[in-house]
C-alpha cells in the first residue's frame, strides 16, 4: 500500500515537473493567436507553429512570423501565410468606351460627353434627379475618370 502511494505521487511529481517547464501546445496556441493580427490562424503541434491565412503584404507576413518565434516554447515556425491579391483596375479602350458612352448618354439630350484616354468629360446641364442615373450608367462602363463639369439645375 505504501509503495503504491509512493509510486503514484512520484508519477504525479514527474508529470507536474515536465508540465511546468515545457508549455503545452494549447497554451502556446492561445498565446500566439492572441498576439497575431485578425485573419491569421495559428496551429501548434509539439512546439511547431504553423501560420495560415491572408495578410496584406510581405512585411505583415514577416512580422507574424517574428511574433510566433518570440513566444516561449516555440521550436519552429512554418509560415504558410499568403499575400492578398487585389484585382487590378480595368479601364475600357477608348473605341469601346466612346460607343458605350454614346449609348449611355443618349437619353440625356442636354448632356455633352467627350471621351479621351479613358476620361469621360461631361459638359452641358442636367436635372439633379437625373444626375445620379447618368453617373451610375457611366460608372459601369469602366472609365478611367468621369470629369463632371455639368451644371446641375
Amino acid at each position: 500500500m505504501k509503495t503504491t502511494k509512493f509510486l503514484l505521487s512520484a508519477v504525479l511529481a514527474v508529470t507536474l515537473f515536465f508540465a511546468g517547464c515545457k508549455p503545452k501546445d494549447a497554451d502556446i496556441q492561445s498565446a500566439v493567436q492572441a498576439k497575431e493580427a485578425a485573419g491569421i490562424t495559428v496551429a501548434v503541434a509539439k512546439g511547431d507553429v504553423t501560420l495560415t491565412g491572408e495578410v496584406a503584404d510581405e512585411a505583415e507576413k514577416a512580422k507574424a512570423e517574428e511574433i510566433a518565434k518570440a513566444e516561449e516554447g516555440v521550436k519552429s515556425v512554418i509560415n504558410n501565410l499568403t499575400i492578398k491579391t487585389v484585382a487590378p483596375v480595368v479601364i475600357a479602350e477608348d473605341t469601346v468606351l466612346i460607343k458605350n458612352v454614346a449609348d449611355a448618354t443618349k437619353d440625356f439630350p442636354t448632356v455633352k460627353a467627350e471621351v479621351k484616354d479613358g476620361v469621360v468629360l461631361l459638359t452641358g446641364e442636367i436635372k439633379k434627379a437625373s444626375l445620379i442615373t447618368l453617373m451610375q450608367h457611366l460608372s459601369a462602363l469602366k472609365p478611367k475618370k468621369i470629369d463632371n463639369k455639368l451644371t446641375v439645375k
Partner: protein, 140 residues
C-alpha cells in the same frame, strides 16, 4: 491613401452591406470601388453616401462600379425608364435599328444576359431584340 480616408464612410457601408468581391484601389489619384450588391436598394444607398461625400459628383476622384447581383433563375424584368417607352433594337447599340418598344413599367421576358450592357428580351407581343440593361429591373 487620402482618397481612401475621404470615402471611408462609403467603403465601410459597402463592407457592412455585404457587397461581394468588394475591391477598393487607388490609382493615379482616383479611387476605384468595384463589387456586387445583393439588391438595388443597397446600390442606391451607396450612391447616396457618395453624393453626400462629394456633392453632385464634381470631384472626379471616384469610379463607383457596383452592380446588382442577379439570380440566374430570373426570367423577367420590369421596364424602369422614367416615363417613356424603352426601345428594343436589332443589335446591342443605339446605332442599331429599333425593332420594337416596351412600355414604361411593362414586364418583359429576358432571353439572354450575356452582354452586360444590352440584354436580349422578348415582349408579350413576341417582339425580340436588345434593350439597355440599365432600364431593366430583374423580377424575383
Amino acid at each position: 491613401m487620402a482618397l481612401q480616408e475621404k470615402y471611408k464612410a462609403l467603403t465601410d457601408a459597402a463592407t457592412a452591406a455585404g457587397i461581394s468581391d468588394l475591391a477598393v484601389r487607388e490609382q493615379d489619384g482616383i479611387l476605384y470601388v468595384d463589387g456586387t450588391a445583393p439588391d438595388g436598394a443597397t446600390k442606391d444607398n451607396l450612391w447616396e453616401i457618395y453624393n453626400q461625400i462629394d456633392p453632385n459628383f464634381a470631384s472626379g476622384d471616384l469610379v463607383l462600379n457596383v452592380n446588382v447581383a442577379i439570380d440566374v433563375a430570373v426570367t423577367h424584368a420590369k421596364v424602369i425608364t422614367q416615363s417613356s417607352n424603352l426601345n428594343i433594337r436589332k443589335g446591342p447599340g443605339t446605332d442599331q435599328p429599333i425593332v420594337g418598344k416596351a412600355a414604361h413599367d411593362e414586364i418583359i421576358t429576358l432571353v439572354n444576359r450575356s452582354n452586360d450592357l444590352w440584354w436580349l428580351v422578348r415582349t408579350k407581343d413576341g417582339e425580340e431584340g436588345y434593350c439597355y440593361a440599365q432600364y431593366l429591373e430583374p423580377q424575383a
